[in-house]
Amino acid sequence: MTTTSISLITPGVWLVLGALLLPAVPRRFRAVMLIGLPVMTLWLVWTLPNGASPVLQVLDYELVPVNSDALGRLFGIIFALMAVGGGIFALRQKSTLELVAATIYAGGAVCVALAGDLITLFVFWEIMAIASTTVLISSKEQRAVRAGMRYFMVHIFGGSLLLAGIVVHLVNTGSLAIEGLDAGTLGGGLILAGVLLNAAAPPLSAWLADAYPEASYSGMVTLSAFTTKAAVYVLIRAFPGTEILIFVGLFMIFYGIIYALLENDMRRILAYSIVNQVGFMVTGAGIGTEMALNGAAAHAFTHIIYKALLLMSAGSVLYQTGKRKCTDLGGLFQSMPITMICGVIGALSISSFPWTSGFVSKSMISQAAADEHLMMTWFLLMAASAGVFLHAGIKFPWFVFFQKDSGLRPPDPPWHMRAAMILFASLCITLGVWPEPLYALLPNPVEYVPYTVPHVVNMLQLLLFSGLAFFLMLPLMKRSLTITLDVDWFYRKLGPWAADRAVEFVTAAYRRVEAEGRLRLEGILALLSRYAGPHSVAARTPESSFMVLFVVALLCLLLFLPILVW
């Protein structure tokens, strides 16, 4: 490790500090900050050389605020790039609080990607948790605030697991390095659990689809990018080749598909599909070969762009119509052509259609599975690739922009929202046809060639026949005004119900004890009142003649007592 030219100040901090100045900046200069800060951060990360910053001594710990290598830079770059696109899209956002929080959130993510030790990582991890909760609740709608509180509690729990893991790991090994953690040790296992929670892995995947869709039209674009992908980054860095991740990832993939297929709310469809896509990355981290890790990292990069694009498209529809449910939407292609085209490009990219960005990244993960002869994994990944086209690639654009005509004719959104969509749509296509710049950024050398005739033909077969299945099965996919119960049912319904029952039980028990106690107390009081009460012997007022007699008798007794004793 060299400590040459890298400053102690990690680039993401500029976003965090800059964001705090945002409320003081007049509204018309806000755009300069919202776009300028991330662009500056992007440049700082891009030009960061390999190596570590000087060590920062805090108490007994040696912290390394910046440790720059290809993997960290790749995530830092995409987080900063996302902040640029998100900033352009959100220029008209009225809530200053959301803009401040979103910028801090992005800054925290950049800092996580470059953190050189577990404590620095944890600090920025928690800054991300607080900032993302603030993005959620800044819409001030009651649903969002409620969802934000649930989200915050889940993430506080995840943060506690992470912190406990770091402490145990530090005590046992004395090391704060992020690399090469062992999931089999108590410390490593706790860290893994905390990180997986943020990746929306089971059993608590439900926090994502519960919370994100309640954010504002621009809030969800921001939220989709950072938390889950920062978790993927830590998995790639700290737990490559941990076998359990393959199973966790495959579960997430199919969970995302099945729940998205059942969903009616366009942004909840896309939320479930985040879990699905992160599942591919988690599987890649679990396979753990150079190719698989490259695939997972590249897929995180392309995913952030096309998922943000899809959510910008959905956000534009929400902004223009105020509607989120597929049952209320349809036919919008007629009046929102740019939103539709950008949405379709995002949908094709998420489906890994040839000549879009998803194609050049996801196929590295399945190729790695084939290279390692992981047959079941490979077949499941192929089925999942078809399923992505089904649940996100066609379902989202079909029900929002086509299907029945809802009669809605809203125009495309304001210019900056269109600009953000066009920027990200161009990136999806550019990376798809020209993947070399992305491959050059990957942590391991790339020998993979995505565009071979058989690969393209195979993928087109897979995807188009998946499309055929969609239209053949359309009657089975008719939208209804329903949601699908998920694990959040346990803490939204069962938990409160059980708490209510517990309160009732305790109240009833208390009443019983109170009633019984009252009875006993009354018995004791009656007894006391008989012997010491106002009508008892002790309380009577004796006559004075009796008292004189009593005193004389007592004096006589005292007089004769010594004689008697003698």
Binding site: Q142, R143, R146, F254, I257, I258, L261, L262, N264, D265, K325, G331, F333, Q334, A370, D371, H373, M375, W378, F379, M382, A383, A386, G387, L390, F402, D405, T452, V453, P454, H455, V457, N458, M459, L460, Q461, L462, L463, L464, F465, S466, G467, L468, A469, F470, L472, M473, L476, M477, S480, L481, T482, I483, T484, L485, D486, R492, K493, P496
Partner: protein, 86 residues
């Protein structure tokens, strides 16, 4: 008829029929391409004729059916959680 003509050209039945024909031709061409294009199948089943086509179709049908069955058990009206909002 007049209503038909005012519809956007893309959603007229004639266009949709044409789209289906075009889609079928592309699907058929892709499957036939398997006779000329030979990749390097990693697993035995992958080498079967039109593997990606039938596998994509079959798994998607399966996923829709599984979702449907799960939905019967776990679907609730979308107002299910509304009573936790005062």
């Amino acid at each position: 008829m007049a209503a038909q003509e005012t519809k956007h050209w893309l959603v007229r039945p004639r266009t949709i029929r044409l789209l289906w024909i075009g889609f079928s031709v592309v699907l058929a061409a892709l499957v036939l391409a398997d006779t000329f294009v030979h990749g390097h199948p990693s697993f035995g089943l992958e080498g079967t004729f039109g593997f990606y086509a039938w596998y994509g179709l079959a798994t998607c049908v399966a996923m829709v059916i599984v979702a449907k069955l799960l939905g019967m058990w776990l679907k609730r009206p979308d107002t299910h959680y509304d009573d936790d909002i005062d």
